[in-house]
């Protein structure tokens, strides 16, 4: 076994704020975010790259922060759930959608769902239901059955596009 690897300095912009820290190379990004930065909105679910609860936005890509080392994110720009609200502190369209459409029950998957949906809507501002379901396939929810999560994202897309959200007939 190798001797303890030396810590290295990393710096990145998280939710618009320049941050830095001293990490071991093996420190996972999610641990840096939760423990060094004390931003505990990003959740650790499965720790095996399946559940998506730890999803953050890294340089315009949705990534599972349990499967990226903090040193790999050196110099990057990151958005976590704490950076999703509007600048004035009001709920963003996505957050409002999850509230209005009951897009959560226990709430554990919600930070990952919202950060993933944030990137999805950046890439595809007007997704179909099928595109939403395909786009959030890397995020697991054990409560809702996804129905209301899909509606929440549809609500947010409609709000961002300035159209009225029409709930599909059941």
């Amino acid at each position: 076994m190798a001797t303890q690897a030396k810590k290295t300095q990393v710096s990145m912009k998280v939710n618009g704020v320049e941050v830095e820290g001293l990490v071991e190379p093996r420190t996972l990004l999610v641990h840096f975010i939760r423990e060094n930065l004390q931003l505990t909105g990003t959740h650790i679910g499965c720790e095996t790259t399946h559940c998506g609860a730890c999803t953050v936005d890294l340089d315009g890509r949705s990534v599972k922060s349990c499967t990226v080392f903090a040193v790999q994110a050196d110099g990057s720009e990151i958005i976590t759930i704490e950076g999703i609200a509007n600048a004035d502190g009001t709920l963003s369209a996505l957050q409002e959608g999850f509230r209005m459409m009951h897009g959560l029950q226990c709430g554990f998957c919600t930070p990952g769902m919202i950060t993933r949906a944030h990137r999805l809507l950046q890439e595809n501002p007007n997704p179909s239901e099928e595109e939403i379901r395909f786009g959030i396939a890397g995020n697991l929810c054990r409560c809702t059955g996804y129905q209301n999560i899909v509606k929440a994202i549809q609500y947010a897309a409609a709000k961002i596009n300035g159209t009225e959200y029409q709930e599909a007939a059941e």
Partner: protein, 287 residues
């Protein structure tokens, strides 16, 4: 789920990466997208003492046309393949297959080079590279060499890649314009490896198959190029008898493992069905 300690390196060029690999020897591993290696490290099934992250090497990024071929540099991600106009127009089967790999977050990270170089029989791109007759460009201490995808795979996680070498690019001959294609993948859920999968590229003229190449994923400890299965449909109108001959020829070379995805007989059975479905869908697309 904390990996063992390691030293992190981020070289800026292939030459620097090769130098690090030569200096650090067996204890060093190159890191591409990391979505096979990092989970293995978290489980302590891999504990390299040095990681050589290839993300800092811009020369390993991008998709370019070179004459009749498409060259995909190794660190191009599945997500970037999905957004590439060159891929969409010349090699749409890569787009179709990328969409069936893992999930969106993993496609933002996973690279074509990592997918083909890792030697995991569950990976989808190796069979595609075999059916397309792609070449892998490899750089090492003694310079460059090229290995055909059809000669690259020796066993599960055993490939022609030697210690100290890096697979830098994949060069793929563009199939004939108007070709039909399909990748059929049976999986238990999103993100799973294939229970069985088959890829097909074919050309047709007047309702008759003029050429056909078939690749198989996760049906042996290496990807398989099902040469006889492809030849079995050439000259036919892809009638039921031809479809069955192709499936039987493909099944004859399958030797899947029995695992959580099913017993051997089941996986061979559904492997034959994937071949037939891919053939039919490719034919419907052939101009």
């Amino acid at each position: 789920m904390i990996p063992g300690p390691f030293t992190y390196h981020r070289p800026g060029s292939v030459a620097d990466a090769l130098k690090l690999l030569a200096e650090l020897g067996d204890e060093a591993r190159p890191l591409a997208g990391g979505h096979s290696l990092i989970p293995m490290m978290k489980l302590r099934l891999a504990s390299p003492e040095h990681l050589i992250d290839l993300h800092g090497i811009t020369a390993l990024k991008g998709v370019v046309r070179e004459g009749d071929r498409v060259v995909v540099r190794a660190m191009t991600t599945q997500h970037e393949l999905l957004g590439s106009d060159v891929i969409a127009s010349i090699l749409p089967i890569l787009k179709e297959t990328s969409l069936l790999i893992a999930d969106p977050q993993i496609r933002y990270c996973g690279t074509l080079g990592g997918n083909v170089a890792n030697g995991d029989p569950g990976n989808d791109m190796p069979a595609l590279m075999q059916l397309l007759n792609a070449d892998f460009l490899i750089e090492g201490p003694d310079g460059q060499r090229t290995v055909a995808a059809r000669d690259f795979y020796q066993g599960a996680y055993f490939t022609a890649l030697e210690p100290g070498e890096i697979l830098t690019a994949i060069s793929i001959p563009g199939p004939a314009s108007g070709h039909g294609y399909a990748y059929e993948k049976l999986k238990r859920k999103v993100g799973d490896y294939a229970t069985a999968a088959a890829g097909v590229v074919m050309t047709m003229e007047g309702g008759i198959v003029t050429s056909c190449s078939i690749g198989l994923t996760n049906l042996a400890d290496t990807p398989l190029w099902a040469q006889e299965a492809g030849e079995a449909v050439v000259g036919t109108s892809l009638d039921d008898a031809a479809l069955k001959r192709a499936a039987d020829a493909a099944i004859a070379i399958m030797s899947p493992a029995a695992d959580g995805r099913g017993p051997v007989e089941y996986r061979k059975h559904v492997g034959g069905i994937m071949v037939q479905r891919a053939l039919k869908r490719a034919a419907a697309r052939a101009a």
